[in-house]
Symmetry: C2
Subunit: 422 residues, 2 copies
Amino acid sequence: MDEDEIDALVERLAEEAKAAARRLARLPTERKDAVLRRVCGALRGPAGDALLEANRRDLLAAEGMALPEAMLDRLRLDRPRLDAVADGVEAIVALPDPVGRVEDSRKLPNGLSVSRVRVPLGLIGFIYESRPNVTADAAALCIKSGNAILLRGGKEAFESNRAFAAIFEEALEAEGLPKAAVTLLPTVDRRATLAMIRLVGVVDLVIPRGGEGLIRFVSENARVPVIQHYKGMCHVYVDGGADLDAAEAIAVNAKVHRPGVCNAMETLLVDRAIAEAFLPRVSRALLEEGVELRGDPAVCALVPEARAAVARDWDTEHLSKILNVAVVDGIDAALVHIERHGSKHTEAIVTDSYARAQRWVREVDASLVLVNASTRFNDGFQLGLGAEIGISTTKLHAYGPMGLAELCTLKWVGYGEGQIRR
Amino acid sequence: MDEDEIDALVERLAEEAKAAARRLARLPTERKDAVLRRVCGALRGPAGDALLEANRRDLLAAEGMALPEAMLDRLRLDRPRLDAVADGVEAIVALPDPVGRVEDSRKLPNGLSVSRVRVPLGLIGFIYESRPNVTADAAALCIKSGNAILLRGGKEAFESNRAFAAIFEEALEAEGLPKAAVTLLPTVDRRATLAMIRLVGVVDLVIPRGGEGLIRFVSENARVPVIQHYKGMCHVYVDGGADLDAAEAIAVNAKVHRPGVCNAMETLLVDRAIAEAFLPRVSRALLEEGVELRGDPAVCALVPEARAAVARDWDTEHLSKILNVAVVDGIDAALVHIERHGSKHTEAIVTDSYARAQRWVREVDASLVLVNASTRFNDGFQLGLGAEIGISTTKLHAYGPMGLAELCTLKWVGYGEGQIRR
């Protein structure tokens, strides 16, 4: 296909998905849940086997590409993982329908009854990498929230993504609904992504979720609204006077509980006042967990196992058991460091000071600001949203986890009896 | 200045404004209100006279440009208009501070207390045309909501805008605050606009408010998030069986109460079932108010005064006493017309049918959907927000009037006692 053909194809698919979005927006909850229940049944049955077969084809192709083992692991599906995907879809069925929820109802002095009603955004463009199970999570969230979804997955997972999309298409058709409500772009050509993010008036929102290159490409080229699910350059700052047992437990948890995710800690900041007391013990605990430490000179002086950090480290989301560690002169220096190197994702303080806890909460600009808790809590499930399509580091619309409610907007509705402006 | 110099200047001004935004974000309500009270005092005193003087220079220059009288009128300031601006700023002082308002508080099963706290967006880029009083409204709303503002006004109002900005700068300095919190770009070169809308990480949101050319330029070139305050292609649909007195009053009010604003009706849709009964009487009432009617063939057959509408009319925001009128085959055809020609601003039905009222509310995609009321109610004051920076037709973040709350975002805050993920 040449570029014009790709543009035409993407436009046609997006128009069909948009028409499907109009149908989905008006569906009662029962119909949407019925689709998702069919998807669960398919995942647990023969269609699941076909999906695992497709996944094996992806893995075979990937072997030729010399991908790192971490990426192969993200790509790999098996029965337990597929059951976990089905469990996730079932959990979405169990969540309340956000559509039609009424907020801010009021009666104006002239008798007009106005309120804000939650309605689907329309057509969501979703651009993501590697893990194919994200296809099912994102599609299920969009169906439940009355949106259609146009998916552009990673090329390594193309066959798996296609099999997931086919399961949704069949479930939609079996319920008499347009299968275009879940549309996977049939090409991973970058031109298709470009076409998709420029369809003003058709695609209502684009969510890029992945690495720096992907996010930058989308942000620089999109003509439609974008909510970035960007990197998590998360910090834990251990303040002088902190409970060192709690600080150690939080630091270890934030780094090693799941190092490859965006809410893992990348940099530990330690107040100079307690550096001598805290750094050796926390380093021991981290080293025991296999963490590699990259420290500033003050850290390296106290921790012989630490190697010297380079400038780039303070801005690098390692997504592995590598941790940057710096000694700072109290909360002021910690705030400056985060202002400069943070990514507005998750920032935690460990402190016993009421005043500094309050200051932290007020002054740190991040989607989740924590006192005395692990950064790992920035997650839609943990925060009570039930499920999430990702974690937004864009301040507009949704700052932090995006759940069903955040896949909707609020429209104003007014019921009158002939009111006019005087 | 060449393009590189303009880029450098805009970047420096924006960085200064952003630093000011960090100060403003933490200010107690009293300090922000004190700034605004000083602005009111200045507007009502000698600084107001200087402002009127600056406005006269703009008007003089405009005379040479052969601008239409409507535009000259929007540009013109006098004592009563300036007092109205001061009244508007005082009204903003009286509104509750949105910053720090807590929502969705909950205690997670592990004891972590989480909530969402309203915080300023940061630095708002505001691009607008003609009316200089918008400078004061927008700056006052941003200060009250803890945001800094970077203003790019129309070239016709440059001197007036500069005088408004100077009043805010003096008020900020008198309160010991950085005057960069209200920064007017010192050039109206389009390159400056371009530089401003590409400052990713510095400008947190750009709001373009104006004509189609401006909105398109910003949307196509911005790298930072944009909320469009776009045109109002608003419709009133008069359904068969509607109370014709109410329908006539609503149609006349929606068109003539203030024809030059975005929530004025541009197209009247009449159900074929009542066309013969309703069109002659509503036309008479509209013609009496000096409205020019542009009808489809069915309308022209019933209303001799109507001239034939051309295809372009159905998409034209006349912003004057020109009204498009069409006969449609019931609510289905009305919905199709609006889907095709509406601008997601305001859409009203006049009906006596419960079912069709509910269907209208459910199926029309617009920031305000009305039953039996004039489109003129889509307004932050009318809907109870207290004040507005404009009306968003972007579905993300704020759909409809943007008030103080919509100039903020919600950040998550969690207070723990050492919680870690298990």
